[in-house]
């Protein structure tokens, strides 16, 4: 009995003490809260931003996602980096590279620059990093971005030793790169995260810890990662040893991990964040705000129409009817509401410049614009040819909020405009949707594609016969030939190559209506009006802070 009394006494005592502790703490905290806030708000040269997730990897060979590439871009530097309008500007490479006659051998001079541990950046660092990324043991998911390097594909497949890769250090400051083909956009490609150098000695010292913490990673970029509290926040500090340190204006960049969009907005409202991504539901509220702006991305959303074993979608009239039969503007104006634009194309706007210095879209036309009358005609023709009055098509969709709305909108529009058409929506988690598409086990699907490099080819070579991402049984001999030529024989004749790409897109959309383009995505932002000079990119990293400043 004694023991039980004692236990009860303990429980009560504990309860009381907790209560007191909680009350006492609550009162005290108010003051601290105020103190903390005034501390973090003020300083001019500290940029506060947010990301929706922690950095998955600071190992450039393994990085695959936006946050990693963004942080890598601001703390490290490759031969080139992306500047204004995504032009390639000098990074570790000094001056113009020497390019051989056939465009396949490039020789770069490496500038005098230092890693944050004091070691010099050398040509060997590039050789090491690139071989590592392509070595199958590394299991790098972006290895394919390097397949233009000589022997890269064979090395990645384990058929050749990494030493046979077409990259070598002539001496500490000279890097020679050999390509399979003279790629016209190679300089910009070199700005991609997977091409960043790695300090072999440092990487080996850190072993399996490399890239996992701020101090087990080494930097050569405008900033260094000085603090990394996982899932909480990370801090980049200006790198005093950076070769172009004079150009860097910010002292620190604090990135807080915030997953909730309302919280993001609240942080902006209280001045705890200087720049945030704004989700669609907040756009109307902040549209008139001085710091509101939108940035076009390279991601294009479209309907895949799987022709494999599907009589209806094999019919070109049916495909055209679907592609023209819904109002795209309704989606960009109401559903996405973040600056996204109607896509009557597959290669996005303001994305790739041709040899004439003009945007690809200016040279190429627009295709498959919304035209309900025209769509109805095509639909009647299709029904006649098929001998069917009622047609049912399944639409495979992502399961996020926006896609769900877009899917329902498409269903409503198409069913109204095209008589006798029934659309059944099948929503699946992302991974399951990808699987179904890979197995071509679907009829139509809402899909998106973003660019890996700044050339229309990143979109157009998807649809060559049997291509890994074709996934809808599309095949057109003329299209295949144009793409093949643009990848090989026309590489040294930029004008003709450009023309071939324009023609290819025309076949894909105007003649074949293989896909139904819907919109090109944008992101909406809200920033502190005095913040200036943050660059936004369409490939690789989202942003560059090197030239950012508060005015």
């Amino acid at each position: 009995m004694k023991r039980k009394n004692f236990a009860l006494f303990l429980v009560l005592l504990l309860a009381m003490s907790m209560f007191l502790a909680a009350c006492g703490g609550g009162g005290e905290s108010g003051g601290e809260g105020n103190g903390g806030e005034s501390g973090s708000g003020g300083s001019d040269n500290v940029l506060n931003v947010t990301e929706t997730q922690d950095i998955p990897s600071m190992d450039s060979a393994l990085a695959t996602d936006a946050v990693s590439f963004n942080t890598l871009n601001n703390t490290m530097e490759g031969l080139y980096r992306l500047g204004e309008n995504d032009e390639a500007v000098e990074g570790m490479a000094e001056g113009e590279p020497e390019v051989s006659e056939d465009g396949k051998t490039w020789t770069f001079k490496i500038r005098d620059a230092k890693w944050s541990n004091g070691d010099p950046v050398t040509a060997h660092d590039f050789v090491y990093a690139w071989r590592k990324a392509l070595n199958p043991d590394t299991a790098a998911e972006y290895a394919y971005i390097m397949y233009d390097l000589k022997n890269a594909q064979a090395v990645n497949a384990g058929e050749m030793a990494p030493e046979e890769l077409g990259v070598k250090a002539i001496d500490d400051k000279t890097l020679e790169v050999q390509l399979e083909n003279p790629v016209p956009y190679f300089k910009q490609l070199l700005a991609f995260g997977t091409f960043l150098p790695q300090n072999e000695k440092f990487v080996k010292e850190q072993g399996d810890q490399f890239g996992l913490e701020a101090n087990t990673t080494v930097y050569n970029g405008p900033f260094t990662l000085s603090e990394w509290k996982h899932e909480d926040q990370f801090v980049m500090k200006k790198n005093p040893d950076y070769w172009d340190a004079d150009a860097v204006k910010l002292d620190e960049i604090h990135t807080k991990i915030v997953k909730d969009t309302q919280t993001d907005v609240n942080l902006f409202e209280t001045g705890d964040a200087d720049q945030i991504k704004l989700s669609s539901e907040f756009v109307d509220k902040y549209k008139e705000h001085e710091g509101f702006f939108t940035v076009k991305e390279s991601s294009v959303f479209f309907l895949r129409m799987n022709q494999e074993g599907n009589e209806v979608l094999q019919n070109v009239d049916a495909r055209k009817a679907i592609a023209k039969g819904f109002d795209k503007k309704g989606i960009t104006d109401v559903l996405t509401n973040n600056g996204s634009v109607v896509a009557d194309f597959f290669v996005p706007e303001e994305f790739a410049e041709g040899p004439d210095g003009k945007d690809f879209r200016e040279t190429a036309g627009t295709y498959l614009e919304t035209d309900v009358e025209e769509a109805k005609k095509h639909w009647e023709a299709a029904k006649k040819a098929l001998g069917q009055d009622q047609v049912t098509i399944e639409l495979l969709n992502y399961d996020d909020d926006l896609s769900r709305k877009v899917g329902e909108y498409l269903k409503e529009q198409l069913e109204t405009n095209l008589e006798g058409l029934t659309i059944n929506i099948k929503q699946q988690p992302f991974k399951q949707k990808l699987d179904l598409e890979t197995q071509m086990n679907y009829e139509m699907s809402l899909a998106g594609w973003g660019a890996d490099y700044l050339d229309p080819m990143t979109y157009l070579d998807m649809y060559v016969t049997g291509g890994a991402h074709n996934q809808q049984g599309f095949s057109n001999a003329e299209y295949d030939k144009l793409i093949q030529d643009a990848k090989t024989t026309l590489l040294l004749e930029p004008e003709k190559r450009w023309d071939a790409l324009v023609q290819a897109e025309k076949i894909l959309l105007e003649d074949e209506a293989a896909i139904a383009p819907i919109y090109q995505r944008s992101r909406a932002y809200l920033k502190n009006p005095s913040l200036d000079g943050v660059l936004f990119h369409k490939v690789g990293p989202d942003t560059t802070y090197k030239w950012a400043e508060f005015k």
Binding site: R3, H230, D272, P429, F430, H469
Partner: protein, 309 residues
């Protein structure tokens, strides 16, 4: 008692083993692979990477490999957070979740018990109705609504507390309040009904008849018996809250484990799914075990030794 504990411990291990096995095979039924760049990779490129991770081996082989490592205490490396050990990830993220959960449970239980007792003592009074209303609201309104309201009023409109982050005690106040609402409501409701039942029972009447003071009746006889169901309730509730609330952590930017678990399932991060599931299970089983032992101490009617023969 010692024998009972050893026996329970063995059962706990067996339970964990079964959970690990079932989770492993169910997880492998998830469509897709753990690759983060899957949509851009051709099937050949995917093969290269899956081979490297041994994910192309037959399932039984993968299972045996995983279990062997598990017995060595190695939970493997995350796929989504390249090469980060799962044990480190859980270690880093459980801290904030557990801290918040603990605070919310403490605060919630104390307030809940007080509300419940007051309501029971002054049955059908204004106080009782207020407490009941609070309880009903607390249970029916989801905690993220409270979180949103608290954040808006106490951090944006009247900046008393910070909006979100994890930098000190003041950052924990709002999330703790938001989390504890449900606890307060649940505990208060149970406390009230249990106490009313106990107060109406024969032995309390006997005690009153014998002239024991009201205070003494409350603390010695009534409260103690009424607390038993609360303890049953608190165990699972504590685990539930300490393992992280997805929405609360998202809203207040807390680097906890709740979000990680959901994310790992969406991205097929096999090792993390297994790691967190096992961790949760172990915690849960352990808490139930503790609750069982506490029973024996608090409730004289329960004997763990299976009776004296």
């Amino acid at each position: 008692m010692a024998r009972y504990i050893v026996q329970r411990f063995i059962y706990m291990l067996i339970t964990l083993l079964i959970i690990a096995t079932i989770t492993f095979f169910l997880m492998k039924l998830l469509p897709g692979s753990p690759l983060t760049n899957q949509e851009k990779l051709s099937p050949e490129q995917q093969e290269i990477i899956l081979d490297k991770y041994g994910l192309n081996d037959p399932l039984p082989v993968q299972y045996v490999n995983y279990m062997t490592n598990l017995f060595k205490g190695d939970l493997g490396l995350s796929f989504q957070y390249d090469n980060r050990p799962v044990t480190t990830m859980i270690g880093e993220r459980i801290g904030p979740s557990a801290y918040l959960g603990f605070q919310a449970i403490l605060f919630g239980t104390v307030v809940g018990i007080i509300l419940g007792v007051l309501a029971a003592l002054k049955q059908n009074s204004f106080l009782d109705y207020t407490a009941t209303t609070i309880a009903v609201l607390g249970i029916s309104i989801p905690s993220f609504v409270f979180a949103g309201v608290l954040q808006y009023f106490l951090a944006v409109k009247f900046p008393i507390f910070p909006v979100a982050a994890w930098e000190g005690f003041e950052y924990t106040v709002l999330p703790t309040l938001a989390l504890s609402v449900f606890v307060i409501a649940t505990v208060a409701r149970y406390m009230r009904s249990e106490l009313l039942e106990v107060l109406g029972s024969d032995y309390i009447m006997l005690a009153r008849a014998k002239g024991v003071s009201s205070f003494s009746i409350m603390t010695k006889h009534a409260l103690r018996n009424a607390l038993i169901p609360i303890i049953t309730l608190l165990g699972p509730l504590a685990v539930n809250i300490m393992t992280g609330s997805l929405v609360i952590e998202n809203i207040f930017g807390i680097p906890g484990i709740g979000q990680q678990f959901v994310q790992s399932i969406l991205t097929n991060d096999y090792t993390v799914i297994m790691g967190i599931t096992l961790f949760y299970s172990a915690l849960f089983i352990f808490v139930i075990f503790i609750v069982d032992i506490l029973y024996g101490i608090i409730d004289p009617r329960i004997r763990l030794n299976g009776g004296k023969k």
